[in-house]
């Protein structure tokens, strides 16, 4: 078996642009936002919805960095986009309004959408004006995505939809959902006959129902399609090739720093609380987390490098997500052991941040592919099964 990462690596890696000015600009913007009260470290996550924040970030040039200029982008490197993303995540900024749209929906439309669709939507995503949701999971179709039952039937001028999607983050704020649905009857090949449609949610025949999380927050939703017709121009790809498109889309979802920085705010609170005068045991526990974070970040940066060079990265992207979400879940558990406090909710202090992280932790290793699915992918890449 070849190692996932060639080693020793004589290539020297891709030279990276100097990003100190960019980092400084993002930090200055985030400091303004903190002063204005839109960022509450430790008490919100990157899924927190704030349209105003996204529009202001776009105006400062922090969205769509890598996109073509004709779509409102700046044609900068993937590394520069990575830097902006990690700075925002480290600050605990509310990214929910634009995150999915900018990370995966926009790129998916640019690659596979019709010209009409690109012209209508892509600029507005770059401007932070549109929110997208992911329409993959269904009540009976979780990890086994190919079993989706939501269907779209060809009608004159479009596709008539029936079905249900679940766990759709921020669907109650979203303008569009990219929905994986069956457009042809199921055959021997379970992956054939699926398509991706860009579905407008302002249709009276689409209903969004809240699924309140165990922390009492409303971010997840069920979306019901009951005869809404989606125009032909909203089909991605050729039709019937939806499985391939979904796999491509998921690659964008599994490699980014949001998969290991969800509880960074708590880690910072933890290091501050322990302080330089902390005892050796506390320092060792914190050091274990910081070392892990540093190494996972190296892995994540390497994925970006490999993707940009057109090299395979499925194995390491999957590993990065699995290890990253493990770290996100470990941080509150270490904080529990190191800090002498009882987690209580209601304020933006250490006890509040600890509560928030504990109550969010289960979802880290479920969303975007469960831990067990990921390990199965890694095993397959190793040549097992």
């Amino acid at each position: 078996m070849q190692p996932f990462i060639p080693f020793p690596d004589y290539s020297g890696g891709t030279p990276r642009p100097d990003v100190s000015a960019l980092r400084a600009a993002v930090r200055a913007f985030l400091e303004d936002e903190r002063r204005a009260g839109t960022i509450v470290p430790g008490l919100q996550s990157w899924t927190t919805f704030d349209r105003g924040f996204s529009e202001r970030a776009a105006r400062r040039g922090f969205l769509a960095l890598t996109w073509p200029r004709r779509f409102g982008g700046q044609e900068r490197t993937a590394f520069e986009r990575y830097v902006v993303c990690e700075e925002m995540l480290a600050a605990g900024a509310p990214l929910g309004s634009h995150w999915i749209a900018e990370r995966q929906s926009g790129p998916q439309i640019m690659r596979h959408g019709t010209e009409e669709l690109k012209a209508a939507l892509v600029h507005r995503i770059a401007a932070g004006q549109l929110t997208f949701g992911i329409g993959m999971s269904e009540p009976d179709s979780g990890s086994d995505l190919s079993s989706v039952r939501t269907k779209a039937e060809k009608v004159d001028g479009g596709w008539r939809m029936e079905g249900r999607k679940v766990w759709t983050t921020n669907a109650h704020h979203a303008d569009y959902l990219i929905v994986l649905c069956r457009t042809e009857a199921r055959s021997e090949d379970r992956y054939a006959g699926l398509s991706q449609l860009v579905v407008p949610l302002d249709d009276p025949k689409v209903t969004v129902r809240p699924l309140v999380s165990l922390n009492g927050e409303h971010e997840l939703n069920e979306v019901i399609f009951d005869g809404n017709v989606v125009p032909d121009t909203h089909l991605l790809g050729q039709g019937g090739d939806g499985w391939k498109l979904v796999i491509e889309e998921l690659a964008f979802e599994r490699s980014a720093p949001d998969r290991f920085m969800s509880t960074f705010g708590l880690l910072r609170i933890l290091t501050e609380a322990v302080g330089a005068s902390g005892d050796d045991r506390a320092h060792a526990e914190v050091g274990r987390l910081v070392a892990r974070l540093s190494a996972i970040r190296d892995l994540s940066l390497l994925i970006g490098e490999r993707l940009e060079a057109g090299q395979p990265a499925t194995g390491i992207a999957t590993i990065a997500k699995d290890l990253g979400t493990g770290l996100e879940q470990e941080i509150p558990e270490v904080a529990r052991r190191v800090l002498s406090m009882v987690p209580v909710r209601g304020r933006a202090d250490a006890a509040g941040a600890l509560s928030f992280a504990i109550l969010n932790a289960p979802c880290f290793s479920l969303r975007g592919g469960t831990r067990e699915i990921l390990k199965g992918i890694v095993a397959r890449e190793l040549g097992l099964r």
Binding site: L267, T271, A295, L323
Partner: protein, 341 residues
Amino acid sequence: MSDTARMLDDTAERLLARHFAGNVRGTRESAAAVLSEFFDNGLDQLLVPEAAGGMGGGTLDAAAVAYRWGYHAAPGPIVEMLLLPALAAEAALDPDRTTLALLDEACVRSGTWQKPAKATSVVAPVIGEAAATVLVCAADERGRLALARFGGDGMELRSSLAGEDVALLDLAALRPESVQATEASFEAFAARGALLTACAILGAAQRQIEIAIEHANTRKQFGKPLGKFQAIQHRLAEAASEQAVAQAAVRSAIAAQDAGRLKPLQWQAAKVQTGRAATTVVAAAHQILGAIAFTEEHVLHHYSKRLWTWRDAWGREAELERRIGAQACAQGAGLWPWMVD
């Protein structure tokens, strides 16, 4: 420089593949033969500066050799073998009869030895037959590398987990014969030793993962290969994941050291992750290989014992984690910039 690294990598691979095609390690004769080839091929000159007649290689160049050494579970303390010649040249010592040990404390002041405050002993792997001299590599008050020279008297000869000779120095009882100052940075020296050890670990862990996968795909129980069982798949996925994240950390730390911009966090995290990977990979490989690999009948133990040795050499996880944590906790609200700037 990358061409040099590739050439050295090939040299080491040819040399070791010839010696260790099967389960034939562990004899004193084979160890001596490999050691003499190491010198005959000039690998000892790798890190010796060009001004001193060496090859003037960087960490990446030496990394390739250390990785191959681990991959073949080859005998001899490869990290000390790579690092010693440059120091021996500096200290005008006979490299054949000398070895070295790291002492991570500032215990040289104004050129004089101070009894270390924390460490009570150091372990120096013996290169070749016997060590007449141990160079204890410590820091002085300015953070420079100082070489404290200990003679053979009072050393206790023990063996490492891998069964190789080590000299144990009782620092409470012994005093160095002499102390030599150098202009080299102690931090950079300790980092290089840690990164080369990390590479040896990655090589051995890589080979163990390969052996375990091969076994899982061929050994059948209950009518199907072990690799068809999800429990086995996940165990191997976990081992390969630890290996990958450790590789990523080591790779970026080596590049940073050769570019002169290495931060303590980077090499310390890299050593910590390889130590963690070693633990996970060895445990997984033994669990999957079963009883046969608990015996000397199977080759696996050569790798396991080296991995267990190397994870505690040149920076143990517990100590490095404590240092990383102490630094991180001293940053106030500036944890993030400290990590990435």
